[in-house]
């Protein structure tokens, strides 16, 4: 066993043995949550509002949403010390408080939310493209959920819109989950207590991440990009910058006398500044994208990197400060960790490709029925 150098300041001995409980793969997990929840929110809102500029992206949103949700829990699964006992979360969930088990576990609730999200995402997607599946004939009819003719499609679409409300709620719940877990349930790491606006930042970040994935997928499937995607990116990035500024002011003026802020500045200061710079760049490039939509993938990519950094800060960097508030630990990504993160991303991409082969990525009939513009 090799012993790291003793970190500066006071700390508990058990923290010294394993300073970072949640490993870097949790950043990949939270980023995947961002993609899945962002797509659920976008798809839900598009259907509920029947928002025509985004209708053409519904099949893609569904496919990407299903793919990202399917791989979602592989992130924490890879982080568990006993993944072989992971099934316990489903057969023995801590969701009812009692004398023996006081409180309710947020993690257990989310574990149950996962299959529900997959089912709702799949149902909404299949309902939206049911007419296209029917038109394809053969085995695709099975996936059309019993649709007999194109005339029945409007009622299927209405059911999809009703389910979209559930999808939207699930999307918001996922977006709020991790920051909520940090802020409410896991509040014993001091730095988590000073970020009450984090759930909002994460939700906006989810929109940025999902628009990035959606824009890349749209280009690959030759669906033209719409200015509304640019506007979502710009508004989301600006809002995150605004919230970060509020947080900065709060930390500077209200919390500046707390010693832990010194550790916070050392651990997180640089990354937060870099995140804000990247978001400003996203806004500038986004404004250019309004003139030339081809710049959107670059603008959204930079925004996506900012989202990943933001997630790194709160899922990993925060753990670098001990519970006594002063010792600072180092974090490194080893080969196995890098392999796990890569596998998670590749699995998501692989599933997205497979689903896009099986399911139509554009809905011709949807446009015809709803009177949307031609692709």
């Amino acid at each position: 066993m090799s012993w790291p150098a003793y970190p500066e300041g006071y700390m508990y001995p058990n923290e010294f043995f394993e300073p970072i409980v949640w490993k870097p793969i949790m950043t990949a997990y939270t980023t995947m949550i961002a993609i899945a929840s962002g797509l659920a929110i976008l798809m839900g809102l598009t259907l509920i509002l029947n928002y025509k500029p985004l209708l053409r992206y519904l099949p893609l949103m569904g496919i990407l949403g299903i793919a990202s949700t399917l791989v979602l829990l592989l992130g924490p699964l890879a982080d568990l010390r006993r993944p072989d006992q992971a099934f316990q979360i489903f057969i023995s969930p801590h969701i009812m408080p009692s004398n023996t088990y006081p409180g309710i576990s947020y993690i257990a609730i989310v574990a149950y939310m996962w299959p529900i999200t997959i089912i709702v995402f799949t149902l909404v997607t299949l309902l939206v493209i049911s007419a296209d599946l029917l038109a394809k004939g053969g085995y695709y009819r099975i996936l059309a959920l019993g649709l007999k003719s194109e005339a029945e499609y409007p009622s299927y679409y209405r059911i999809a819109r009703i389910l979209a409300v559930i999808l939207l709620i699930l999307g918001l719940a996922w977006a709020f989950y991790y920051p909520g877990l940090l802020f409410i349930a896991e509040s014993k790491l001091m730095l988590y207590n000073i970020t009450p606006l984090l759930p909002l930042t994460y939700t906006l970040g989810a929109l940025v991440a999902s628009i990035f994935i959606l824009s890349i997928a749209s280009i690959l499937t030759r669906i033209h990009l719409d200015n509304i995607m640019v506007k979502i990116i710009i508004v989301s990035a600006l809002s995150i910058i605004f919230i970060k500024l509020i947080e900065l002011l709060r930390v500077s003026f209200i919390l500046s006398n707390i010693p832990v802020i010194d550790s916070l500045t050392r651990v997180m200061g640089g990354i937060i500044i870099l995140t804000v710079i990247l978001l400003i760049l996203t806004v500038i490039l986004g404004l250019y994208s309004l003139r030339d939509i081809r710049i959107l993938p670059l603008a959204s990519f930079i925004g996506f990197v900012a989202v990943i950094l933001d997630r790194w800060v709160y899922s990993i960097s925060v753990q670098q400060v001990s519970k006594t508030g002063i010792a600072i630990f180092s974090v490194h990504i080893d080969f196995v960790e890098a392999l796990l993160i890569s596998s998670l991303i590749l699995l998501f991409l692989g599933l997205a490709v497979i689903l896009s082969v099986i399911l139509p990525t554009r809905s011709v009939i949807l446009e015809k029925v709803l009177g949307g513009e031609k692709l």
Binding site: N14, F17, R81, I107, A185, E186, K188, I326
Partner: protein, 216 residues
Amino acid sequence: MHKISRRDFAKLALGVAITSISSSSIASIGFSRGKRFAMYIDVSKCYGCYACMVACAAENNVPVGVFRTWIERHVRSDGTIIFVPKQCNHCDNPPCVKPCPTGATYVNDDGLVLVDDNKCIGCGACVTACPYGARYMNPVKGVVDKCTFCDHRIYNGLLPACVEACPTGARVFGSLTTEGSEVRRLVDRNPVQVLKPEYGAKPMIFYRDLPEVANL
């Protein structure tokens, strides 16, 4: 880069976050669980021999590098050195039990906070939630581990290993609900303190003469 010494940090942090070490008494604790096991630690009697740590490690097969109990060495503002034993506080309102997704961590009928190895998935939620750094991932078992007050001993009429090994009697263990128990008498008659009372965890380790510098 501005560096904060341990002492400076203690002064600053304690001034803001840890406003005071609360005094407790049996009347104010409000416990409600069975025998409500607890421990009384007289800091002034501990001279840092580490016998409790060794006894605990031997009794519970604690791997090298992690600790069910440990002794902190602190320096008072007047320069005197003090030793403060710490471990799981078996809180009456345990923050570590609430986030456990599988119910692996639970509170037994007598208030002991325990872990069911067969249910623990090793997510680390309880490690993060415990404000006292008392939990760790057992590198051998792969599940979370912590002090159990030696439950395998106390239910057989023995004392926890750390209590039995303490040469000065700094640690006193017993039931708070049992009339006439030594721990109850000591907690009731002495000005006692608990660690980090601001978290509202209601710890069941009661210290006597705990200096503010050690309440981190």
